[in-house]
């Protein structure tokens, strides 16, 4: 078996607004000073990494999900489609078959089980992918879902696929993930080699990161915690990590200056030495973990 060198880091959080995007963009730029990095924004509902990382767009494509289209003249009105669809996305009303695209999960059951081929699958736009060249070492890919499109998972999956095909040679990949613990986060983290959970030392931060920890354990993912805004709140998060045997990879101090730089879309690690130090710790930790992976 060839040595597998690629290392994918997913940055996730549970709670929103704890610094996922700040960490992803700063870490990607910092690492790109030394080696080639791909940064991927998988928070397709609210993709914000592009506000901090600017580059030249080199590729743009629409992304589609497949939904059935009713071909009236082929249909025998047998009703199988309506019966097999578990999502009520296909409905027979008298002599008419209605398709509800927003309920469709693209499982193909109605289409492929139709004895008359009256429901061929056709593409429907669900979002857009854009690829940027930031510098020789940093590539950035962002996907954004169409307003009104409710299912983020298919777009996340297609974005990862695009990255895998386009950048198989780039060893280091960083995924900026959506918040929460439900299906979009699972999709975004499922093939990561290491997950960084970033949180803040507050009761909300602790509660939500403990859900994220449960999620990562269920997925059997190696993970560690970065505490952001360290200094506000209390020490409960540290006690929690100690009790649960979770590594605290780095602490980023609470600093109004960081919030101000962030608010105007600037990267912070070159301005605030403590942030750079934290990124260094994270880099070293990830290097150690990736070495273990190869062994």
């Amino acid at each position: 078996m060839p040595e597998k060198k690629m290392f994918k880091i997913a940055i996730a959080s549970g709670k929103g607004g704890t610094g996922k995007t700040t960490l992803s963009t700063n870490l990607a730029s910092f690492l790109a000073e030394k080696k080639e990095v791909v940064l991927v924004d998988l928070d397709v509902e609210e993709p914000d990494a592009g506000l901090f990382i600017t580059g030249t767009p080199i590729h743009h494509e629409d992304k589609y999900k497949m939904i059935p289209r009713w071909e009236q003249n082929q249909c025998t009105l047998c009703g199988i489609c309506q019966n097999v669809c578990k999502f009520h996305a296909v409905l027979q009303l008298g002599k008419i078959i209605l398709v509800f695209p927003e309920l469709c999960h693209s499982c193909y059951a109605c289409s492929e089980l139709c004895p008359a081929q009256a429901l061929p699958m056709q593409p429907k736009k669900m979002g857009e992918l854009t690829e940027y060249e930031v510098n020789d070492n940093l590539h950035f890919i962002e996907s954004r879902i169409e307003i009104g499109e409710e299912q983020a998972v298919p777009l996340i999956a297609q974005t990862k696929k695009y990255v895998a095909t386009k950048y198989p040679q780039v060893d280091l990949q960083i995924y900026d993930c959506p918040p929460g613990t439900s299906c979009p986060v699972i999709e975004a983290t499922r093939d990561a080699d290491f997950v960084i959970l970033i949180t803040e030392p507050t009761p909300f931060g602790l509660h939500d990161v403990s859900l994220a920890v449960e999620t990562m354990r269920k997925l059997d993912k190696p993970f560690g915690i970065v505490i952001n805004r360290f200094g506000i709140g209390n020490d409960d998060i540290i006690n929690y990590c100690n009790n649960e045997n979770i590594p605290i990879i780095a602490k980023i101090p609470n600093h109004r200056k960081i919030a101000e730089h962030y608010s105007s879309g600037k990267l912070v690690y070159n301005e605030i030495p403590e942030v750079k130090a934290a990124l260094n710790q994270i880099m070293n930790y990830c290097m150690e973990t990736s070495k273990k992976k190869v062994e």
């Binding site: 609210e46 999960h105 929460g180 608010s263």
Partner: protein, 292 residues
């Protein structure tokens, strides 16, 4: 009965802290619904007693009966979600990947696959410290259908509000613009957008407002951490004017937000001065806007 939804697009803008303060200000007039089922935090401030709880089933999940399986592999061929893997000469369904479409069970020649209803979480009715009640929920890890659980929480809140003749339902929504947000908006009378003056705050506000617009709901906006970035603050104000959204309040950057939370209190309980004044006035404003 009027439904007020608090959302933000971006996470971490202070949405839940502000919503919990409104819950205290509204007291017994308000039924609270925590619709951020993915990362529900309202209970940390409102001290619910979990008086009633019920399991929430939604959708289905495929299950292979190994004794009937003839190992033909038809199920993996049709599965579009990579949910069926072949391990030690047996096929297995990965519950985290299975969407519950049931296609595999349709094509299985041995009828070895059955569809079970999927336990997706739990929902609760609680007495809270405001003297009223709260409906809240816990979505299971990795569960799909958070939109449906949101709808359940909302419907139960509506039922309760009409039984107890409460004038307001206050809904804490989730971040993003996907299915849980859409679910929490449907049927609402007023949307409170909580934003922060940062590039991402503005970007996310604009996106989530497109969703709000589709529902044609009256909206107001609270700018939290208002003095963080004057330029972005102005940009938000311009956007509000352009879209005819009421600018409800500016809240200054204040670490009392965090300190209140650490003490398990809402902001207005912890800060009796400036913050309490601003939030009380804002709550009154919302009530006036709702009746007009």
């Amino acid at each position: 009965m009027k439904e007020i939804v608090v959302i933000s697009g971006k996470g971490g803008t202070g949405k839940t802290s502000i919503a919990a303060s409104f819950a205290v200000l509204g007291g017994s007039d308000v039924i609270v619904a925590d619709c951020d089922v993915d990362a529900a935090d309202m209970h940390l401030l409102l001290k619910p007693d979990f008086e009633f709880s019920e399991e929430f089933y939604s959708g289905e999940i495929a299950y292979i009966e190994q004794s009937k399986c003839i190992v033909c592999g038809k199920c993996t061929e049709v599965c579009r979600f990579d949910a069926i893997s072949f391990i030690n000469s047996q096929y297995f369904i990965n519950p985290l990947s299975c969407e519950g479409c049931g296609y595999c069970s349709q094509v299985c020649p041995a009828s070895a696959i059955i569809n079970k209803s999927r336990l997706s979480g739990k929902w609760f009715v609680s007495n809270i410290k405001t003297g009223s009640k709260m409906i809240h929920a816990r979505l299971d890890i990795g569960a799909d259908n958070s939109g449906k659980l949101v709808a359940k929480v909302k419907n139960e809140a509506k039922k309760l509000a009409s039984e107890e003749a409460k004038p307001f339902i206050l809904i804490d929504g989730s971040p993003g613009i996907g299915c849980p947000v859409v679910s929490s908006l449907s049927g609402a009378n007023f949307v409170v957008l909580v934003v922060e003056p940062s590039v991402s705050g503005v970007h996310d506000l604009k996106r989530v407002y497109q969703v709000v617009k589709n529902f044609n709901i009256k909206a107001g906006c609270i700018i939290n951490k208002a003095n963080l970035n004057p330029e972005k603050h102005q940009e938000i104000k311009d956007f509000l004017l352009e879209e005819n959204i009421s600018h409800l309040a500016d809240i200054p950057y204040d670490e009392n937000f965090t300190k209140a939370m650490v003490n398990g209190m809402t902001i207005i309980e912890y800060d009796q001065n400036e913050l309490k004044k601003i939030l009380s006035q804002t709550w009154e404003k919302i009530k006036i806007l709702l009746t007009n």
